[in-house]
C-alpha cells in the first residue's frame, strides 16, 4: 500500500481551505465542501478485506459550537444477525444467520486535530461512532480527523461485499453524519428501508487492487501506477459529491461513449458484452433527456457497472455512478433494463445533486426518480406498452407505478422516517409510487410546460443543497402562483385515498306545457376516498351537446341538476385523466348505452380460457 505521505497532509488541507471560499462564491456551480475526504484503501482479495487510511476535513456550518462529531460506520450493519439492518431486512432469518453475510469495520486509530490520539474516546453504537471533542468546534471552524480502519468484507448484501471475484464497495468508509444548521446532528442507524444522507465535499481516493483488476468508481481517474507487489493503484477524484463508491473485478470489459460532453463508462461482464451498445444507447437517451429537462449534469464522467446481484446491490445509485444487473428478458419485449437505467440515472439529479434527506424524506429522491423514469419511458417507447409488450399483454411504466401503489396505498403517509413504514411494500407504495403519481397529478393540473419549469427551477435552486418537502412546496407555489398546499398536505402527510365516482345519471321529460320537449337531467357524483381535489365533469347529451362542469369535491356527494334539450348519454368525472392518483378509474364514468360488446368479449374470452383450464386440468 502506498500510504499518503503524512508530509503531504497539510498540503491537502491547505488546498481544501483555499478551495472553500472559491466554492462559496460560485455556489450555483459548485457545492460548499462541508465534509471532504482523502482515502487510501487497499483491497485484499485473498483475505476479503479492505485496509484504509482516511483524512477528513470537516467544517462546522451550523450556527452553534459543537462538542461532538458523529460518523457512520455502515459496514457494522453486517456484524451480526441482530443489528438494526439485519432485524429489519426482509430476507429470511436462515439467510441472515449465514456466516458469509458477516462483515464489519474496525477502527484501529482515530486522530483528531493536531495529532491528538482519540482512539480510546470513541463510542461506537452499531453503525454510529461518536467522537467527543476536547474543545468545542465553533461555527465556520474546521477540524481534521484521521482514521485508520479495516473492513471485513461479506458476500454482497445490500451494497457491500464480494461475489466470486467481483467486488462492490458501497457504504464502506467511516463517513461524517450531517450537522444541521441548528447544531443538531442528523444521524441514524443503517436501516433496511432507508438510504442515506450526507454533506457535499471533495473525495480523493487511492484504490490499490491486484494488477489484473478493472476498477470503476465515482469521480474521474487522475493517476494510476503499478506497484512492485503486482498490484496497482488508481487515484480517483470526485468533486461536489456526497458519497463515493467503487467496484472491482478482473472480468469487467470497459465500453466508453461521449454523451453531451460526459464520458460514459460501461463496465460490463463478458457474458453481457453483446448488450453493451444497447445499454449505452439507453444511458445516452436518459442523459440527453435529463440534461435538457432539468439542467446540465455537471460532472465530467459517469460510470455504469454491471454487477452480480447478490442480496441487493443490483440497481443502486451513487454520485456519478450506478449499478445494474441485467435481466434475462428479451429486451424488445420487456424493457426492465431500460427502466432501471432511467431510474438510477434520474437519481443523479434527485439524490446526487438535489440531495434530500433520504433517511427522513425519501420521496424527494425516489418519487422524483420514478416520475422522471416514467417520462423517459414515454418519450423513448411511447405512452402505452412502453415497459412490457409480450403476447398481447402490455404494460407501461406508469401502469407499474399504479400497480405498486395499489399494493398498499393506505398504511403510511409518504413523508415519514423510512424505517418507520409498516413494511417494505408500504414504503415502496408510498415513497416510490404514490409520490410519483402525485407529481404526475400535479403536472396534469398545472400543465406539462409549467411542470417542466417547476422541476428546472427546483433543480437550479437546490443543486448541491439539501431541500426539504417544504422547499419543494414553496417552489411549486411560486412557479404556479397558486397554493397547492392542500394537495401536498393530503397526499404527503395523510393516508387517504383518492376515488371519485359517477354514481348515477338520468334524464326525465318535463311534463309542464311550457317545458315540453325539455328534460330534467341529473348526475350524481360521489367522493369515495378521503382526498379532496377539484375535478372536472363532462356531460354529453344524446344530441351531441357537451357540458363541462367543475366540482370542488369538498362534500361527499354532489348532484348536478339541469334542464337539457335531450337526454343524457354519458357523464365522465376527470375526463382528461388528470387524477393519476384516482384509485379506481372504472367508476369514473357512466353511460346509458351499456357496453354490451365489452362484457360479451370478456365473457366469451374467459369462457374459452376456462375451457382450456378444464381441458388441461383433466388431462393428467
Amino acid at each position: 500500500m502506498r500510504l499518503f505521505p503524512r508530509l503531504l497532509l497539510p498540503v491537502f488541507l491547505l488546498s481544501l481551505s483555499l478551495v472553500v471560499p472559491t466554492f462559496c462564491k460560485t455556489e450555483d456551480q459548485h457545492a460548499f465542501p462541508i465534509a471532504s475526504y482523502r482515502i487510501e484503501v487497499t483491497l485484499d482479495t485473498l483475505g476479503k478485506k479492505l485496509k484504509g487510511d482516511e483524512y477528513i476535513v470537516f467544517v462546522n456550518t451550523s450556527t452553534r459550537s459543537i462538542d461532538t462529531l458523529y460518523l457512520h460506520l455502515y459496514p457494522n450493519a453486517f456484524r451480526s444477525d441482530t443489528t438494526t439492518l439485519m432485524r429489519e431486512s426482509m430476507f429470511p432469518d436462515r439467510i441472515k444467520r449465514e456466516e458469509k453475510y458477516r462483515g464489519w469495520v474496525e477502527i484501529e486509530r482515530v486522530t483528531l486535530g493536531s495529532d491528538l490520539d482519540w482512539s480510546d474516546r470513541k463510542i461506537v453504537q452499531e453503525t454510529i461512532m461518536k467522537l467527543p471533542l476536547s474543545q468545542p468546534l465553533s461555527p465556520a471552524e474546521t477540524i481534521n480527523v484521521e482514521i485508520k480502519f479495516s473492513v471485513e468484507l461479506l458476500q454482497i448484501f445490500m451494497r457491500l461485499g464480494y461475489s466470486n471475484r467481483d467486488y462492490m464497495i458501497g457504504q464502506w468508509f467511516p463517513k461524517m453524519a450531517v450537522l444541521q444548521k441548528d447544531g443538531r446532528w442528523n444521524v441514524h442507524q443503517y436501516h433496511s428501508n432507508s438510504e442515506f444522507f450526507a454533506d457535499f465535499g471533495t473525495y480523493d481516493v487511492s484504490i490499490t487492487v491486484p494488477a489484473e483488476y478493472v476498477v470503476g468508481a465515482s469521480g474521474y481517474l487522475t493517476d494510476e501506477w503499478k506497484n512492485v507487489d503486482s498490484s496497482k493503484t488508481l487515484v480517483f477524484r470526485a468533486e461536489d459529491v456526497h458519497d463515493f463508491v467503487w467496484v472491482a473485478s478482473p472480468d469487467f470489459l470497459v465500453y466508453k461513449r461521449m454523451v453531451d460532453g460526459i464520458e460514459v463508462n460501461f463496465l460490463c461482464k463478458p457474458e453481457h458484452a453483446k448488450e453493451a451498445g444497447r445499454i449505452l444507447d439507453e444511458v445516452e437517451f436518459a442523459f440527453k433527456y435529463y440534461n435538457s429537462s432539468y439542467g446540465a449534469y455537471p460532472y465530467r464522467n459517469f460510470t455504469i457497472a454491471d454487477v452480480r446481484i447478490g442480496l441487493g446491490g443490483g440497481a443502486m445509485e451513487y454520485p456519478g455512478f450506478i449499478t445494474i444487473s441485467l435481466f434475462n428478458f428479451p429486451p424488445d419485449k420487456i424493457k426492465l433494463d431500460a427502466m432501471v437505467i432511467y431510474h438510477e440515472i434520474a437519481h443523479q439529479w434527485w439524490y446526487g445533486m438535489v440531495a434530500s434527506n433520504e433517511f427522513e424524506e425519501a420521496w424527494l429522491d425516489e418519487g422524483f426518480a420514478v416520475y422522471s423514469e416514467n417520462r423517459v419511458m414515454e418519450r423513448r417507447y411511447g405512452m402505452k406498452a412502453n415497459l412490457v409488450n409480450l403476447w398481447g399483454l402490455n404494460l407501461s411504466g406508469e401502469n407499474l407505478t399504479k400497480l405498486s401503489y395499489l399494493i398498499d396505498p393506505q398504511s403510511d403517509p409518504v413523508v415519514k422516517n423510512s424505517w418507520e413504514f409498516m413494511d417494505y411494500l408500504s414504503y415502496r407504495a408510498c415513497v416510490y409510487s404514490k409520490a410519483s403519481l402525485l407529481l404526475e397529478t400535479l403536472g396534469n393540473y398545472m400543465g406539462q410546460d409549467r411542470m417542466s419549469e417547476l422541476l428546472r427551477e427546483y433543480f437550479r435552486r437546490y443543486k448541491f443543497k439539501h431541500p426539504t418537502t417544504q422547499d419543494f412546496i414553496q417552489v411549486t407555489n411560486e412557479i404556479t402562483g397558486e397554493d397547492f398546499a392542500f394537495l401536498f398536505e393530503q397526499i404527503l402527510f395523510g393516508t387517504g385515498i383518492c376515488d371519485y365516482e359517477v354514481a348515477s345519471i338520468k334524464s326525465e321529460p318535463k311534463t309542464s306545457n311550457q317545458a315540453k320537449g325539455l328534460f330534467r337531467t341529473e348526475v350524481m357524483l360521489k367522493r369515495l376516498g378521503e382526498v379532496v381535489i377539484p375535478v372536472d365533469v363532462l356531460i354529453v347529451l344524446d344530441d351531441g351537446e357537451k357540458i363541462k362542469q367543475n366540482w370542488d369535491g369538498k362534500e361527499r356527494w354532489h348532484r348536478i341538476e339541469m334542464e337539457t334539450n335531450s337526454r343524457i348519454k354519458l357523464a365522465i368525472i376527470d375526463p382528461e385523466d388528470k387524477l393519476a392518483l384516482d384509485i379506481n378509474v372504472n367508476n369514473n364514468s357512466l353511460t346509458t348505452e351499456a357496453e354490451d360488446s365489452v362484457i360479451l368479449k370478456l365473457f366469451t374470452q374467459s369462457l374459452f380460457w376456462f375451457e382450456w383450464l378444464v381441458h388441461f386440468g383433466t388431462s393428467y
Binding site: F327, N328, F329, P330, P331, G392, L393, N394, L395, S396, N399, K402, L403, L406, L570, I572, I583, N584, V585, N586, N587, N588, S589, L590, T591, T592, A594, E595, S597, V598, I599, L600, K601, L602, F603, T604, S606, L607, F608, F610, E611, L613, V614, H615, G617, T618, S619, Y620
Partner: protein
C-alpha cells in the same frame, strides 16, 4: 408404422361411431367453464357494463382498467380464487367418474370392430356409459392418485436433468428461447412429462382391458406394455401430438387473421363460434387419443 397409422384411423372411426361421447365431453367442459366464469361475468358487468372507458378493452388489453378492476374486487377475487380451487377439485372428480365411461365405451368399440359386428349394432347407449362410469371409478381414482406420485418423480427427474445439463452446457438465460440449449432443454423436459402422461393412459387401458385383475397387476401390465413397445407407443403419442399442435397453430393463425377484419361486435361473435368449434374439436381429439391407444394396445396384444 402401419400399426400406428391404422390405430389412428381406427381410433377416429371408433370415436365417430360413438359420437355422443364427443357431445358429453364438450358439454362437460362447457358447463364446468360456465360455472367458473359466471362470478367473473358479474364482476365484469358491474365494472365495465356502463363504463365509457371500457370500450378500450374492445381493441385490446388496457392495463389501467384491469389494474383498477383487480384492486376494486380484490377481496371478492380472493374468495373467488378459493372457490375456483374447490370447484376445480369437484370438476376433476366428476371427470374421473366420467372417464370410466369414455374408456369403457371406446374399448367396446375396438372389441366390436375385431368381432366384425355390423355398424348398426355397434351403437352404445347412455346406460352402458353410466355403467362403465360406476364400474371403473375406483380404478380410475387409484390411477389418478398414482399419477400424482409419478408426476412428482417426473419433476425430480427434470430437476436432476436440468442440473446435469446445466453443468455440461452452462446456464441458459430465460430470454434465449431460440438457443439450442433452451430448445433441447424444453424438448427433454416435455418428453419426460409426456412419457409419464402416456403411461397413465396405458394404465387406464390396462384397467378396462383386464377387468377383475388386482390393481397392481394391472399397473405392472401397463408398464410392461409401454416398456416393451416403447417405439410404437411413443410414435403414436407424438404423431397425435404433432397433429394436435398443427390444428392449434391453424386455429391461432386464423384467429389472428380475422382480427381487425370485422367490426368489434361481429368479431366477438365469429371468434366465439370459432372458439367453441375448436373446443368441440379438442373434445373429439382427446377421445381420438384414447381410442387410438386402445386400438394399438389391442393390435399388439392380439
Amino acid at each position: 408404422m402401419t400399426h400406428i397409422l391404422s390405430s389412428i384411423t381406427e381410433g377416429v372411426r371408433n370415436v365417430w361411431t360413438a359420437k355422443f361421447l364427443i357431445g358429453l365431453m364438450f358439454v362437460f367442459k362447457l358447463l364446468s367453464s360456465f360455472v367458473l366464469v359466471f362470478p367473473l361475468y358479474l364482476m365484469f358487468s358491474s365494472s365495465f357494463g356502463a363504463n365509457v372507458k371500457a370500450s378500450n378493452l374492445l381493441s385490446g388489453f388496457d392495463p389501467s382498467l384491469v389494474i383498477d378492476f383487480v384492486y376494486h374486487w380484490r377481496q371478492t377475487l380472493s374468495i373467488y380464487f378459493f372457490m375456483l380451487i374447490l370447484v376445480c377439485g369437484i370438476i376433476i372428480a366428476v371427470y374421473l367418474f366420467l372417464s370410466g365411461g369414455f374408456w369403457g365405451i371406446l374399448r367396446d368399440q375396438v372389441k366390436k370392430k375385431r368381432a366384425a359386428i355390423p355398424a348398426e349394432l355397434m351403437e352404445n347407449t347412455l346406460e352402458e356409459f353410466s355403467g362403465y362410469c360406476g364400474k371403473y371409478f375406483g380404478g380410475m381414482l387409484k390411477i389418478s392418485l398414482l399419477m400424482i406420485s409419478l408426476y412428482l418423480l417426473a419433476f425430480l427427474l427434470v430437476l436432476i436433468f436440468t442440473v446435469i445439463f446445466g453443468s455440461i452446457t452452462g446456464e441458459v438465460n430465460i430470454g434465449e428461447v431460440t438457443s439450442w440449449r433452451m430448445i433441447v432443454r424444453i424438448v427433454i423436459i416435455l418428453f419426460i412429462f409426456l412419457w409419464f402422461k402416456m403411461t397413465g393412459d396405458y394404465m387406464r387401458i390396462s384397467l378396462v382391458e383386464n377387468q377383475g385383475d388386482p390393481f397392481w397387476t394391472v399397473i405392472r401390465r401397463a408398464f410392461r406394455f409401454v416398456l416393451t413397445n416403447t417405439s410404437a407407443t411413443l410414435s403414436l403419442y407424438y404423431i397425435l401430438g404433432l397433429i394436435w399442435l398443427g390444428t392449434f397453430l391453424i386455429y391461432l393463425g386464423s384467429h389472428i387473421l380475422i382480427q381487425g377484419m370485422f367490426p368489434a361486435g361481429i368479431f366477438i361473435l365469429i371468434a366465439f363460434i370459432a372458439q367453441q368449434i375448436y373446443a368441440v374439436f379438442i373434445s373429439f381429439y382427446r377421445l381420438v387419443y384414447y381410442s387410438s391407444q386402445l386400438s394399438l394396445y389391442d393390435r399388439i396384444e392380439q
